[in-house]
């Protein structure tokens, strides 16, 4: 699990831990550690397990004070009930549209900004970069009302663009892109220029092709952030039909329409987590890289 992000040109060195681990004998004490860690790990994933179990548990059993780990009669009734009474497909479609479009835009914006910050000198660069970084410190709650006023002035309230446009500026993404581009050799860009390529040709046909790992990380981070986003979409999306899944989920907990509210809520929660979980399992390495690159200077 190497956690540094490098241009494709320089292959990552194998981690020392792995090569050392090749021939280690597993002692009884080590097995004890594995058992202890496994118990902890099971505890860590228990809440997600319980979400799925509760979604499959009939209302009668879930509303009881009896302890069980698997429903006596698992059923999809909670899913069919909530899918037939609420526009769940619509919510999923909204979330998907917003997450995909916002991710596409923000990744392009971050790549461009990161390249400019890493490879050019221009007036106002330091000021701009500092201003970008300071926004990380500013919680969305502080600017929630003013941002809403701006979006309302643009006539975007209740439209998916009200969510997409403000989130397309992604400071963390720009930061990661800049760090990555700094390690793209200047000689590469220089060579393209000597060959007579324009500034944009140099970017698109020489720099961008080395950015595969970077783009993977940016896409995963942005998609996860947008898919999981809550407060801002809750404020700007208002009709039940235009909600995203997490916002809709938060409104369901108090919905008296369901015989088994927790079963219905857990069914929608499962639907919310599933896509991200699949992406995580498929791209675990990039995921971990992405998360860690937010923690590297």
């Amino acid at each position: 699990m190497s956690t540094t992000l490098r241009p494709a040109a320089s292959p990552a060195t194998p981690s020392s831990a792995r090569t050392r681990g090749g021939r280690a004998r597993t002692s009884p004490r080590r097995w004890l550690l594995v058992v202890a860690l496994s118990v902890l790990a099971l505890l860590m994933i228990f809440p997600l397990y319980w979400m799925v179990v509760s979604a499959l548990t009939p209302g009668g059993q879930s509303q009881s004070s009896e302890f069980y780990l698997w429903p006596a009669e698992p059923t999809f009734a909670n899913f069919s009930e909530v899918f037939s009474t609420q526009p769940v497909w619509r919510w999923i479609a909204n979330s998907t549209f917003i997450a995909v479009v916002a991710t596409a835009i923000s990744v392009c914006v971050s790549l461009g900004a990161g390249y400019a910050l890493a490879k050019y000198r221009f007036m106002g660069k330091g000021l701009l970069y500092t201003a970008f970084l300071i926004t990380i410190m500013i919680p969305i709650q502080v600017t929630l009302v003013p941002s809403f006023l701006v979006v309302a002035r643009l006539g975007l309230v209740d439209s998916p663009w009200a969510v997409i446009l403000p989130t397309a500026f992604d400071v963390v993404g720009i930061f990661i892109a800049r760090q990555f581009m700094l390690s793209v050799p200047n000689a590469l860009v220089e060579a393209a220029r000597v060959d007579g390529a324009g500034e944009f040709r140099a970017f698109f046909s020489v720099v961008l092709p080395t950015c595969g790992p970077l783009i993977g990380v940016l896409v995963i981070l942005a998609f996860m952030a947008r898919w999981n986003d809550f407060l801002w979409p809750m404020v700007v999306l208002q009709g039940n039909e235009s909600l995203t899944v997490p916002v809709a989920l938060s409104t369901l907990t108090n919905n008296p329409a369901f015989a088994s509210p927790w079963g219905a809520v857990m069914a929608v929660a499962t639907v919310t987590v599933l896509p991200i979980l699949v992406v995580f399992l498929a791209f675990q390495r990039q995921f971990v890289q992405g998360i860690s690159s937010t923690g590297i200077k």
Binding site: M1, S2, T3, T4, R18, R20, G22, L33, V34, L37, L40, M44, P47, L48, W50, M51, Q63, S64, S65, F67, V109, G112, A113, A116, Y120, R121, F122, L128, T135, M137, P139, Q141, V142, V145, P146, L149, V150, A168, F169, E190, R193, G198, E199, F200, F203, N228, S250, T253, W262, V265, M266, T272, V273, I276, L277, F280, Q284, I291, S292, G295
Partner: protein, 293 residues
């Protein structure tokens, strides 16, 4: 960067950074400026505001709820940050060794991170439900009385801290794992040859080598904790009473429930101020620490 063609490349960087700068101006800079102007105004309803100077800031001095929120924020931050970091470090050290099933274990510790705050909130509300929650149902098997995890003022904060630590451990673990792998193995081997035991090797080699990582993790975790909103909003909404109302919750409440935009903006700026001061102090401290080494 050397300059190949001064004239041609003068405009290019602005084209590359233009979209980001434009979005930044529209959706960050302008709202921040509006927030700052609002903080000097008294606004009961949207739009019409009266200039009141520093009244909003002065008001905090006598606002009991502000003090409660400040204390709650401190308790929440102190409860979550060291716990998650120590647990993350312990797991990272354990999982940095060659163990059977190491990859699967790492993934299992990491997975809570991918769930949305709202999802975490609803799952945990259900698990810690006083009447039907699996936590109390399991404890009942051992004859332990039902615990009001979220419905009593004395327990709410504790439960929230557990939940947030749960989401944070994997993050700390992953960052520490990356740092551990960059410590040269020779260093530990040399110390082992010199007769240093496992614990003293950990204390005198691993911990100092991890200091820059710890420093960054500390800043990030404090920022995350001070900005933590979704989970608290879904699980307790700041209650019962005001026992789990942290600053960020109070900002939201002032703006949307009490309709006091000006006061909310002032509270928000104080919060940002706290974050900035903490970050700067921490950076100063780590710079000094590095110059000692």
């Amino acid at each position: 960067m050397s300059r190949p063609d001064e004239r041609r490349s003068r405009l290019t960087p602005y084209i590359f950074i233009g979209p980001a700068a434009l979005l930044f101006a529209a959706f960050s800079l302008i709202p921040i400026i509006i927030a700052i102007t609002l903080s000097f105004q008294d606004t009961q309803t949207l739009g019409e505001g009266q200039w009141v100077g520093l009244d909003n800031f002065a008001q905090m001095g006598s606002d009991r709820l502000f003090r409660t929120a400040l204390v709650n924020t401190l308790v929440f931050t102190i409860g979550t940050v060291p716990t998650a970091m120590v647990a993350g470090l312990a797991l990272a050290v354990a999982l940095n060794r060659p163990l059977p099933g190491r990859g699967v274990l790492r993934a299992m510790f990491f997975v809570p991170m991918v769930a949305a705050g709202v999802v975490v909130g609803v799952i945990m509300s259900w698990i810690f439900n006083v009447d039907y929650g699996v936590a109390n149902n399991a404890l009942a098997v051992f004859g332990i009385d039902r615990i009001p995890w979220l419905t009593s003022p004395s327990m709410g904060m504790f439960t929230l801290i557990i939940v947030v630590v749960w989401t944070r451990i994997g993050f700390c673990m992953v960052i520490y794992l990356g740092a551990l792998q960059s410590i040269p193995a020779e260093l530990k081997e040399a110390a082992a040859i010199d007769g240093a035991g496992r614990w003293s090797r950990f204390r005198s080699i691993t911990v100092p080598m991890l200091t820059p990582t710890t420093s960054i993790l500390l800043i990030l975790n404090v920022v995350f904790s001070i900005q933590a909103f979704d989970v608290i909003y879904v699980m307790t909404g700041g209650g019962p009473g005001f026992s789990t109302t942290v600053l960020i919750q109070y900002v939201f409440r002032s703006a949307f429930q009490d309709g006091e935009m000006g006061y909310a903006a002032a509270l928000g700026l104080v919060l940002v101020g706290i974050l900035l001061v903490f970050t700067l102090l921490r950076q100063q401290a780590s710079k000094r620490a590095e110059s000692f080494l």
